[in-house]
């Protein structure tokens, strides 16, 4: 094997290794609401159903509050400092990224899901 090819292969393996490490080390753990509450300060990702009736926006601060119910039904109060996200009203589910702190989950990012699934009855 040529030296150039050996160097290229070594660089490729090293690059792939570094990338994998960077992805794994920098990825956000996906946890349940209960786990998020039990590890305050840890940056995590929680997904669940939006409880729309709990949503409110503080007009003076621009902070947005709502509750999320995860797959186990645990309710997580969420606080978001960048106002109400777009399409929030029509989203059935959301993923929040942030950390639990002092009784609420302070989200740095909210991803709302498209409501592509409907479950009502065809019989009216």
């Amino acid at each position: 094997m040529k030296p150039g090819a050996i160097i290229a292969a070594t660089a490729a393996v090293a690059g792939i290794g570094v990338s994998i490490f960077a992805f794994v080390a920098g990825a956000t753990p996906y946890v349940s609401a209960k786990e998020a509450q039990s590890t305050p300060g840890r940056n995590v990702h929680v997904a669940g159903e939006i409880l729309h009736q709990t949503a409110r926006l503080d007009l003076r601060t621009g902070h947005f509050y709502f509750e999320l119910a995860d797959d186990h039904g645990t309710r997580l109060p969420v606080e978001y400092h960048n106002g109400k996200p777009g399409n929030f009203d029509s989203a059935p589910k959301a993923s929040v990224i942030g950390a639990y702190d002092d009784g609420r989950f302070v989200a740095t990012q909210i991803k709302t899901q498209c409501p592509s699934k409907y479950e009502s009855s065809p019989k009216g």
């Binding site: 992805f23 956000t28 592509s116 409907y118 009855s121």
Partner: protein, 781 residues
């Protein structure tokens, strides 16, 4: 409850049955086509393959006729359409949900394979066997996850086999009611469908131990595949930009990555084919490289459709039927096994008739490195989207890769990829120095353009971060990105110009390179330099957006905006709000009329951003929500205190004047409301009038709070109190996005370049076929 509903018409039930039957017929014909070719009976196999394609297209036609005919007895039609929707969206509902999009994939794959088959020459036998086998799996998924199913509730309640017809459907997701819905899925699925053709062609080359003859024939098809995947990807980004309201094009969502990975894999394949055609190199690799795009797509389809990433993606798909899940899993496994087997044959088989490679050259080496770098980006995206899946397989803690992390990692491969795209076109095939003068011109041009672009941004007050100084390394990386994309644009446009001057007109690859670079430059600048501000607006209070020095805008809401709320026109999907946007610095006005309507089916407001496009920037205006109340009503027992939106509300005691149950009796709740050290005592009331109606007068506090007593429980003495805004307000957001036009220009250049190249390679392939036919008149049998 359904006694009053009419019976589903016979024609609809027949078409549904026909659709289902066509899927089974297609499976049968594909099986027949594969079997006949295996038995060497090509004359029987060819019509079977065509008939299978016709059946697959027929199944899609059946679905569309059910949708257009409003046959709501069918679950798919009921779930995705409604009476009051434009016909174009009723048609587009054919690919709006899981079952329909699988059918579109199968149909595009079938049509593309059928069109390519006559041009496969000696590969036709194995090409048909492999394509037919894959199509059988796709159609088997549809046999389980059928769009032709009667709604189960109607089936359960059918009396004597009679199915009733619901009067209306549940309706299409409002996000999908967009003109892109009629264009984007077709384009991207042409790209996805074409991947099977490449897979089958390369598989055939491996089976025939012939890595040489298939490449010139398959090359135009591979170019077509790459062009449509690229176009589909950018259309998806433009759709997100125009619809979702977050002002971006790309977020590294798993569904986006599922399209990106096969696209990059196809790009690498195109370069491999180019090297094979020109240098005789990469012939073993090309078999493997052509198998991979389809394998990646099938794997990505499994990840996003099986529910494996249900909490990770913003694209939520319905959970998969268990049978369909099993078929898809089997398909993924077999496709990857076939890909690995193909690679083993390609790399180890001594009988492989490998063409003689010409001596190494700087250009070939540069392209090889570029292919490696591009594939590393594809692998990064594939790994990032798979991480939650891998974690669940290994029972490890699930992890999700966020957008920012993707950007941080991918940038390390992006810079060399763009550099190579700029430099390699100037390298020669022979071992001689690069055309350094021309390269230096490109370099100088890129430096001048970087200065002009960044200078324009700085003069216009466009900084990367608001008031924050970026770390030096981050700043350097950012300017490297701008320069390196401009270098790639300059280099490729100069090369294209050289070709035009030499009257060779082979400018396709250079236009594509310049287009991709322009597109990426637009994405980088419009996102990194965007300015955004949010503000509240009502008919009495305009919104002020301070975006940057010299970029202050005021949005004034039309004072009659509430009128549609009093009629039913607010439910009209074309209803718009009317804002006058005033640019303070030059007093110019513009009208912004964003779509805003009430979706009765989901009981929520649907909003769309309104974009004012200018040559140098986009003004992107988004109405986030309508605000009426400060939050959920408070339930308070006497003595209770609760905080809501900065107001501390204490329920002191209930009050009553008059006799309970008698007209004119008034119930009240004495409240102490405190905000920022100021306290007010109020008593909102509920009054029973002569007609027995309950009136709830509004009590104004602090100029910006209306208190309403919603209820008072006589037994528990619990008061329910709403804290409302004095008048409804809209929460709005304005983005200033510089040079977004580059995204459109880049898309156009990239597509134009792609079609020029397809046309050129099509002519080459035609010539090759003519030569092959002259030497062997029956290559297909």
């Amino acid at each position: 409850m359904q006694d009053h509903l009419p019976l589903a018409p016979q024609w609809g039930l027949t078409v549904g049955l026909l659709g289902k039957g066509l899927i089974f017929a297609a499976i049968t014909f594909y099986a027949l086509a594969a079997l006949m070719w295996l038995l060497g009976r090509g004359k029987l196999a060819k019509p079977a393959f065509w008939l299978a394609t016709v059946c697959t297209v027929g199944a899609m036609a059946a679905l569309i006729s059910l949708l257009m005919g409003k046959q709501y007895a069918f679950q798919y039609v009921w779930r995705n359409t409604q009476n009051d929707m434009p016909e174009v969206y009723r048609f587009s509902a054919a690919w709006a949900a899981q079952e329909g999009s699988f059918l579109l994939w199968a149909m595009m794959s079938a049509v593309f394979a059928a069109l390519a088959a006559p041009f496969t020459g000696p590969d036709r036998r194995w090409f048909t066997v492999i394509a037919s086998s894959a199509l059988i799996f796709m159609l088997a998924i549809l046999a389980y996850e059928s769009p032709f199913k009667i709604h189960p509730e109607l089936l359960e309640s059918a009396i004597a086999g009679k199915i009733v017809m619901p009067p209306d459907g549940n309706g299409l997701n409002p996000t999908l009611m967009n003109y892109w819905m009629a264009i984007h899925p077709w384009v991207i699925f042409i790209g996805f469908g074409s991947l099977l053709t490449l897979f089958a062609w390369a598989g055939s080359a491996a089976c025939r131990r012939d890595p040489k003859s298939w490449v010139p024939r398959a090359r135009p098809w591979a170019l077509f595949s790459m062009t449509f995947l690229g176009l589909g990807l950018t259309m998806g980004g433009l759709w997100a930009y125009e619809t979702l309201g977050w002002g971006g094009f790309w977020a590294w969502d798993p569904v986006e990555n599922v399209s990106l990975v096969p696209f990059l894999a196809a790009v690498v394949l195109i370069h491999g084919m180019y090297l094979q055609s020109n240098r005789g190199a990469w012939s073993r690799w090309n078999i493997f490289l052509a198998l991979l795009p389809f394998a990646w797509f099938v794997y990505g389809t499994y990840l996003t459709r099986s529910g494996a990433l249900v909490n990770v993606s913003v694209h939520s798909f319905a959970e998969m039927n268990q049978g369909a899940h099993g078929v898809l899993l089997a398909m993924v496994s077999l496709v990857w096994l076939a890909t690995i087997a193909g690679a083993i044959v390609a790399f180890t088989c001594r009988r492989l008739a490998v063409p003689e490679a010409k001596p190494e050259s700087p250009r070939a080496t540069g392209m090889g490195i570029g292919m490696f770098v591009l594939y590393s980006i594809a692998l990064m995206a594939a790994f990032g989207m798979s991480l939650p899946f891998f974690a669940s397989m290994l029972k490890a803690e699930s992890k999700i890769v966020e957008e920012a992390r993707y950007n941080q990692i991918v940038v390390w491969a992006f810079v060399p990829a763009m550099l190579l795209m700029a430099v390699v076109p100037f390298l020669g095939w022979a071992r001689k120095p690069a055309r350094s003068n021309a390269l230096a011109n490109a370099l100088l041009l890129s430096v001048a353009l970087t200065g002009a672009v960044t200078g324009w941004l700085v003069v216009n007050g466009m900084t990367i971060h608001d008031g924050e100084k970026l770390p030096f390394l981050q700043l350097m990386i950012f300017f490297s990105l701008v320069w390196v994309t401009l270098f790639a644009i300059s280099g490729n446009l100069l090369r294209a110009f050289e070709r035009v001057r030499a009257k060779t007109w082979n400018i396709g690859p250079y236009m594509t390179h310049a287009g991709v670079s322009t597109l990426l430059l637009g994405l980088i600048i419009s996102r990194a330099f965007e300015k955004v501000d949010d503000s509240l607006v009502s008919s009495n209070q305009p919104a002020t957006f301070n975006l940057a020095p010299g970029k202050t805008y005021i949005a004034m809401l039309d004072e009659n905006w509430m009128e549609p709320f009093l009629t039913e026109s607010i439910a009209d999907p074309n209803h718009r709000l009317h804002f006058t946007m005033l640019h303070i610095d030059d007093a110019k006005q513009a009208q912004f009329n964003p779509i805003f309507y009430f979706n009765q089916r989901d009981s929520n407001f649907v909003v769309r951003p309104e974009i004012m496009r200018r040559p140098l920037y986009d003004l992107y205006f988004y109405v986030r929500s309508l605000l009426v109340t400060y939050g959920e009503p408070l339930s308070l027992e006497p003595g209770d205190s609760k905080m809501l939106a900065g107001f501390n509300v204490k329920f002191v005691k209930p009050t009553m004047t008059g006799e309970p149950g008698q007209p004119g009796t008034t119930f009240g709740a004495e409240l102490e409301i405190e905000r920022e050290g100021t306290t007010a005592m109020v008593t909102p009331t509920m009054e029973l009038d002569e007609q027995g109606r309950v009136n709830r007068p509004i009590t104004r506090v602090f100029d910006d709070l209306n208190v309403v007593l919603e209820g008072l429980d006589a037994t528990t003495k619990t008061a329910t109190v709403s804290l409302n805004l004095p008048e409804p307000m809209f929460s709005t957001e304005l983005f200033y996005k510089p040079l977004t036009i580059l995204v459109w220009i880049g898309t156009g250049m990239m597509t134009f370049g792609g079609f020029i190249t397809i046309n050129r390679r099509r002519k080459d392939a035609k010539q090759l076929r003519a030569e092959a036919d002259a030497t062997d008149p029956t290559p297909e049998s």
